[in-house]
């Protein structure tokens, strides 16, 4: 009976294709909590896209939040779309199958909006893939009402210029606040029969919305930006980020979509706060999401229970930039421990500072013999840690490690960055030293007869430092590939010289891709030609090291006459106008410059709870900036 109806359930791809591709469940939609609406009964249809493979995209919290928000709007139906994997990509091109939304299985091209979240620079070619497979012209300029409005959001859009050509609009900041308004502007424009340009013009006046086609960039002779000029009266010269200040009373999904296949984040994700009080000088997120706003602990308890019930997930994870700084953490964890042990649910706790409290909690939720502890000193010496404003000291690390070893842990992971401003050989050698000291702590604290497997395992990983917009290091020159590799070799040999080198394993990232990420991160509109060319030559899934084609990219820079060094190794003056300066993320350029100077002086800045640094984010009128500041916080 019902069987025949189900057999007719519409899929965009024929059986023969689904049976040929890897993991066909990536493309069928139909997941638990996926929202299907009657398309005749909505005014606006949109696709939310994460331009990477399904398993990555489905793990992203931001999309789940916006998907839930849009679908709560009665007049809107929001679907999801991800990058088809290479096998399907080829088939879709061969057979001219248009990219489709997972829920309706209908072409993206027929929808009103395509919203793309841009989480990392290395997905830029995938953005072009999504547009291309959808049958949407890559250049925003060539689009008509035949095509959806393409709007970008996410951290990379704080420097949207390298990809500005491909987007009709960008939404700068947190999506909870202005989308309703934007959609209403859209509905009105369509009702009036306004042309596309007119709609974009009106959209450009909605706070937080950047419409690239209404801005002209003027360059100086040396190639740097002179000014970014609105081309029409009434278009704002500066666009301030949008921010949700009522984080305890806003959109958050109670019924997130549950994928069939195993995805990276196969669990309930509870975002406990936004922002970070710590101000590490290399960290972009720490500046972009200021000020810190904590969610109400009762709200979090309620959501945790509901989300577990509605998804059936067997694990819950807390999400934030620095969970230890959440002021109600003990209460929340207490609640979760009770709730979860009753229901056999695992708790995963990323980004906790290692101290007596966190070790106690972690000892309850994980198998200490199997799990590892993570420290992120980021730099090998105290001097360099002061430069980057990473408050972690050697004694804190060693004390934490000693406590952990006493508690039964035997594995330690350490994360470092190479190529930080002012870094010397001595700083790099400090990495090996620190690893060695941690191993020594193990042998000192754990008597021989108590050593599990007789040993300790330390894994040191280094990534290469990439200066990002809106950080105090946005002025910093970046290393070349050769310099990066030299630093990695030095790290390796300094580890090899250590007494306990047998207990230390060392991993480092590829240098090629870091250099490219550096170009894209601080690039300008002149880069877009390179990105397009790279895509046309076959670059795709650049974030996947096995598919990253550095030679092709280099060829494209060459052919476009774009000098990589201009964007990476060049020293930028304090008076330089950056391509992203027309955006206002709340934190002032003055503050960032102050922090940059303090870095050069090796001076640390206290965190927001210890002493406000006057970064500018207080203008949003809430969060940590208006908390009672005790003088003893952290003591």
């Amino acid at each position: 009976m019902g069987e025949n109806a189900l057999r007719k359930q519409k899929l965009a791809l024929r059986d023969e294709i689904l049976l040929r591709v890897e993991k066909p469940a990536r493309y069928i939609g139909n997941e638990v909590n996926a929202v299907v609406k009657d398309k005749e009964k909505v005014d606006v249809r949109m696709a939310m896209c994460f331009p990477d493979v399904y398993e990555i995209g489905m793990s992203h919290l931001g999309i789940q939040i916006l998907y839930d928000m849009f679908n709560r709007f009665e007049d809107v139906w929001c679907e999801r779309v991800y990058s088809p994997w290479l096998d399907l990509d080829r088939i879709m091109r061969e057979e001219h199958i248009p990219l489709f939304g997972l829920e309706s299985q209908e072409p993206v091209k027929d929808l009103d909006f395509l919203a793309i979240t841009v989480q990392y620079e290395m997905c830029y070619t995938n953005i072009l893939q999504v547009l291309d497979l959808s049958g949407i012209p890559l250049s925003a300029e060539e689009r008509t009402w035949e095509h959806p409005v393409v709007i970008g959001g996410g951290p990379c859009t704080y420097n949207p210029e390298p990809i500005a050509e491909f987007f009709d609009l960008f939404y700068i900041g947190e999506g909870e606040t202005r989308y309703r308004e934007l959609l209403d502007v859209y509905k009105e424009a369509r009702r009036e029969g306004a042309d596309r340009k007119e709609f974009l013009r009106r959209a450009a006046k909605v706070p937080g919305i950047y419409a690239p086609s209404f801005y002209r960039v003027e360059y100086k002779e040396d190639g740097t930006v002179r000014a970014m000029v609105p081309t029409e009266e009434g278009i704002p010269a500066v666009i301030r980020k949008e921010i949700e200040m009522e984080v305890s009373d806003t959109y958050y999904p109670k019924k997130p979509v549950v994928p069939f296949i195993k995805v990276t984040q196969d669990r309930v994700v509870l975002e406990i706060q936004r922002g970070c009080i710590r101000g590490c000088r290399f960290c972009q997120a720490g500046q972009l999401y200021r000020p810190v706003r904590e969610r109400d602990v009762d709200m979090l308890k309620e959501y945790a229970s509901d989300m577990l019930k509605n998804t059936g997930h067997e694990e819950i994870s807390l999400s934030s930039l620095s969970s230890s700084d959440y002021s109600r953490l003990p209460e929340l964890l207490d609640f979760l421990l009770g709730e979860c042990s009753r229901k056999n649910i695992n708790i995963s706790l990323p980004s906790l500072r290692i101290d007596a409290f966190s070790l106690d909690v972690m000892g309850k939720v994980q198998d200490v013999k199997k799990s590892s502890l993570t420290f992120a000193p980021e730099a090998g010496s105290q001097r360099l840690r002061d430069v980057i404003n990473k408050g972690l000291t050697e004694s804190v690390i060693l004390d934490g490690a000693a406590m952990a070893f006493e508690g039964g842990w035997t594995r330690v992971k350490l994360y470092f960055m190479l190529g930080l401003p002012t870094e010397t050989e001595e700083d790099i050698r400090g990495i090996g030293d620190l690893c060695n000291k941690i191993a020594a702590v193990f042998f000192e604290t754990v008597p021989k007869e108590k050593r599990v497997n007789g040993k300790v395992q330390i894994v040191a990983s280094t990534s290469f430092f990439i200066p990002k917009p809106f950080t105090p290091f946005q002025w910093a020159p970046m290393c070349t590939k050769e310099e990066f590799l030299e630093k990695a070799y030095l790290t390796r040999s300094s580890i090899k010289e250590q007494l306990n080198q047998k207990s230390i394993k060392y991993n480092w990232h590829e240098a090629d891709v870091s250099v490219l990420e550096g170009v894209l991160a601080r690039g300008d509109r002149k880069i877009s030609g390179v990105i397009r060319k790279a895509y046309e030559k076959g670059c795709l899934f650049d974030a996947w090291s096995e598919y990253f084609k550095n030679d092709l990219w280099l060829e494209c820079f060459d052919e476009c006459g774009v000098d990589i060094g201009f964007y990476t190794t060049r020293e930028r003056g304090l008076d330089e106008v950056f391509p992203w300066d027309f955006l206002d993320c709340g934190v002032t350029k003055d503050f960032l410059a102050r922090e940059w100077k303090k870095a050069m002086e090796e001076t640390v800045s206290p965190n927001c709870r210890m002493q406000c640094q006057g970064c500018g984010a207080a203008r949003f009128g809430g969060g940590v900036c208006f908390e009672e500041r005790g003088d003893g916080y952290g003591a």
Partner: protein, 243 residues
């Protein structure tokens, strides 16, 4: 620690888009569904306890089924009807719980019970063979032996399918489409894939079965309620009791 648990056998159907969700993911799907439906399932002991759950025969990607099974151990239960309804409330289109029965304490688990399976096989439109397959089917089935070459990584092996084919017939479905019914051995030692039979069938009449030509539905999965010498094949849920 001894706990009182009861074993239940759940029968479900899988169709539509769900055909493309593989066996391991179906298991994960039901683990989560059981939590959503708040079934009081029992867990294993140890640091990371898992649900006590055992699936019958895995179903290949692309196949439909009207007779899939898994067993769970529960610490408490309501009526079969209520539990079925609770599960169906949290299903997605293409998944339907059909029946829940209670197993005796000594019943073999679902996987070990599987002895045979009943399949409906259709040709996908445009993939029908050139010969009169409906007319020839009984002639094919009448052969004393049906030899195929089974390729493994290391060797090629000649295998007679005939003893494992318990019955074969052709009917027409409500849309007038001819359907071949195959009742075959599905035990772990002698499992016969319907596609293997169909390949041999086509080859017998000089054709190669193209890829993706078949639409296959597993109609039900059977256990042997008799003895090895005197088998009595019954659907897997006929072993359990209503509750």
């Amino acid at each position: 620690m001894e706990r009182e648990t009861v074993k239940l056998r759940i029968k479900f159907a899988k169709s539509g888009a769900m055909r493309f969700v593989g066996h391991l993911d179906v298991m994960r799907y039901f683990q989560k569904a059981i939590r959503r439906a708040e079934i009081d399932i029992a867990y294993s002991e140890g640091f990371s306890p898992h649900q006590l759950m055992s699936f019958a025969a895995p179903l290949g990607v692309g196949l439909e089924s009207n007779g899939e099974y898994f067993d769970i151990a529960v610490q408490s239960h309501t009526t079969a009807e209520d539990m079925k309804e609770r599960l169906n409330r949290v299903m997605v289109p293409g998944m339907e719980v059909l029946n829940i029965t209670m197993l005796g304490a000594h019943a073999k688990n679902a996987m070990a019970s599987v002895a045979a399976a009943d399949y409906s096989v259709r040709f996908r439109q445009g993939y029908e063979p050139g010969f009169d397959w409906v007319g020839r089917s009984m002639e094919f089935y009448g052969k004393p032996s049906i030899m195929v070459t089974k390729k493994t990584k290391k060797s090629e092996q000649q295998l007679d399918l005939k003893p494992g084919i318990y019955s074969m017939s052709v009917k027409t479905d409500e849309n007038g489409v001819p359907v071949l019914r195959l009742f075959v051995d599905a035990s772990s030692s002698g499992n016969i894939k319907p596609s293997l039979v169909m390949e041999a069938f086509c080859r017998e009449y000089g054709e190669e079965l193209p890829e993706f030509a078949l639409l296959i539905t597993r109609e039900d999965t059977y256990a042997n309620a008799g003895t090895a010498e005197n088998p009595r094949l019954v659907p897997l849920d006929a072993v359990g009791e209503p509750f």
